[in-house]
Symmetry: D2
Subunit: 151 residues, 4 copies
C-alpha cells in the first residue's frame, strides 16, 4: 500500500492540538504515539482507573483510543479547516485487554468527500510481544463550514 498524501501540510500540528483538547484522552491517560498521512497511533496503559469488573481494560476505553486513532487518521487527509466527526463504529473484542500497554493503530481504508472509512486495530504489548485485542471499523464524516467543529 502506498502512503496517501496529506492535503494540509500542517496536519501533524492540527492533530496534536486537537488531541490535547480531547479531555477524555487525558482522563484515560492516553498519549499520541505517532502521526503519518492516513495513520495515527495512540497508547494507553492498563490500570484500575480504566477497568471493567474483571480487571481488564473496559471496552469503552479500548473503543475510545481506537475511535480517536481512526478519527485522526481520517483528519490527517482532510483539507485545512475541516473537522472530523464519528458517525458510527463497530468494534470486535477478540482478547481480554490487558498487558503492559495498549496501542491503537488507526488507518484510512477509503477517504471520500463526505465520508471516510477507517480502521483501527488495538494490540496489547506484554514482555516484548504483542497480541491483537480489538478491531474497530468506523465511518468518519468531514465537516466543513460549521463553526466550532474544526479539526
Amino acid at each position: 500500500m502506498s502512503m496517501p498524501t496529506a492535503r494540509d501540510p500542517a496536519f501533524r500540528t492540527r492533530i496534536q492540538a486537537s488531541f490535547e483538547r480531547q479531555g477524555l484522552m487525558k482522563t484515560l491517560g492516553a498519549s499520541l504515539l505517532g502521526i503519518a498521512p492516513g495513520a495515527v497511533e495512540i497508547a494507553l496503559s492498563p490500570g484500575p482507573a480504566i477497568s471493567q469488573q474483571h480487571g481488564f481494560v473496559h471496552a469503552g476505553a479500548v473503543a475510545a483510543i481506537a475511535d480517536s486513532a481512526a478519527g485522526y487518521a481520517a483528519l490527517s487527509l482532510m483539507a485545512p479547516g475541516a473537522g472530523v466527526l464519528t458517525t458510527e463504529f463497530k468494534i470486535n473484542l477478540v482478547s481480554p485487554a490487558a498487558g503492559d500497554r495498549l496501542v491503537a493503530r488507526g488507518r484510512v481504508v477509503k477517504a471520500g468527500r463526505t465520508l471516510t472509512l477507517a480502521q483501527a486495530e488495538v494490540v496489547a504489548e506484554s514482555g516484548g510481544q504483542e497480541k491483537l485485542v480489538a478491531l474497530l471499523t468506523a465511518t468518519m464524516m468531514t465537516i466543513e463550514g460549521r463553526g466550532g467543529v474544526a479539526d
Copy 2:
C-alpha cells in the same frame, strides 16, 4: 413486550457490586440509575473531563456507558455465577452528545445460551426534554466456569 424473568433473585445486588468494580465508570463519573430484568440504565454528566475536541462528550465515553448498560441488561438474565463479556458492539452517533445529562438505556433483545443480543439507546436530557444521541447493538457472551470472570 412482556418483561423477561431473572434467573438469579440476587441479580440487582450482583450488578450493583459489579458496576462498582468498573473503575472506568467511576473515572467517567457514571452512575447506575436503574436495574430491572433485562434492562439497565446508566447516567453520565457531560463535562470537559470526558470531552472530544469540539467539546461534546467523546464517542468512547458514550460507548462506555452504552456498553455497560447493555452488558448489565444481559447479565440480569444470566444464571448465578455467570460472567458477561462483550464480544462486539456497533454504535451509531446521531446527534452531538451534549446536554444536562446523558442516559444509556440497555435492554436485552434476545437472550441465548452462549450469546445475548442487547441494545442500548443513549439520550441527552436538556431543559426537561430528551433527544436520541446514540444507538448501540452488542453481542454479549455468557462465561461460565472460568475463574475471575464472574458477573
Copy 3:
C-alpha cells in the same frame, strides 16, 4: 412513537416503482408487503434457491430484504427526487432463518439531512407464530442532484 410525516405525497408510488427495479428482489422472490411513512415491510419465502449449506436462508438473503426494508423506510421520508444509498449496515443473526415466511420490518430511527439511521428486524413466521431471526442497523445516505441515483 408518533408516526413521522412523508415529505413527498407520492412516496408509496416511488417506493413501489423503485422496488420493482431491484432485480435482486425479483430473483430472491421477495415482495413488498407494506409502506407507511418511515416504515416498510418486505416478505421472502424460504427455499433451496436462497439457502446456505445447512438449508437455512443464507445470511446474505436475510440481509438483502432487511437492507431494502430499512432503505425504503428511509426513502419514504425523503424529499421528491432524492435517492437513497446504503453506506453501511450491521446485522445480528439470532436464530436460523427458516419457517413459512420471513418478514423484514424496516423503520427510521433518526432522519437527518445527509444520513438517516434505520433499523429492520426480520422475523420468521411458522404455524401462526413469529420468532426474531435477525436485527439490522443501517446508515442510509440521501443523494440529491446526482443523475441516475433517484429513489
Copy 4:
C-alpha cells in the same frame, strides 16, 4: 503475516462441497475462485438479476459473497466435522458495486475456540484495474456436535 495451518487436510474438498450446497450462491451466479488456509475468494458478475434500483449490484448480494468468503475462510481452519454459522456481520459500502466482476476476499483475523473474527474485502474489477467496493467484518461461530450443522 504467516499463513495459518488448516487442522483438517480435507478442508478444500469440504468447502467446495459446502459451497455447492449454498443455493443462494448458484442463484446469484457466484463462483468459488480460490481456497487457502484462512482465506477464500468468491467471484460474482454484475447484472440486472442482482441489481438494486440504480443498476448497481444490491448491497445484499455484495454482502452475500463477502459473508460466504469470510465464513469459508473461518471454516478452513476448523476441525473435521465442525460447522460454521455467521452470528453477525457489518459491511461498509464505499463505492457503487459495478464493473466486469466483483471479487470477495475473505480472511481470518483471529480464530478462537468458539468465535472466529473474519474480514472480507470486495473489489470491483474493470478494464484490468480493481477498486475497493466494500469491507465486511464478521463473527463466525464454530458449531460442533449439532446434527445437520456441519461444514
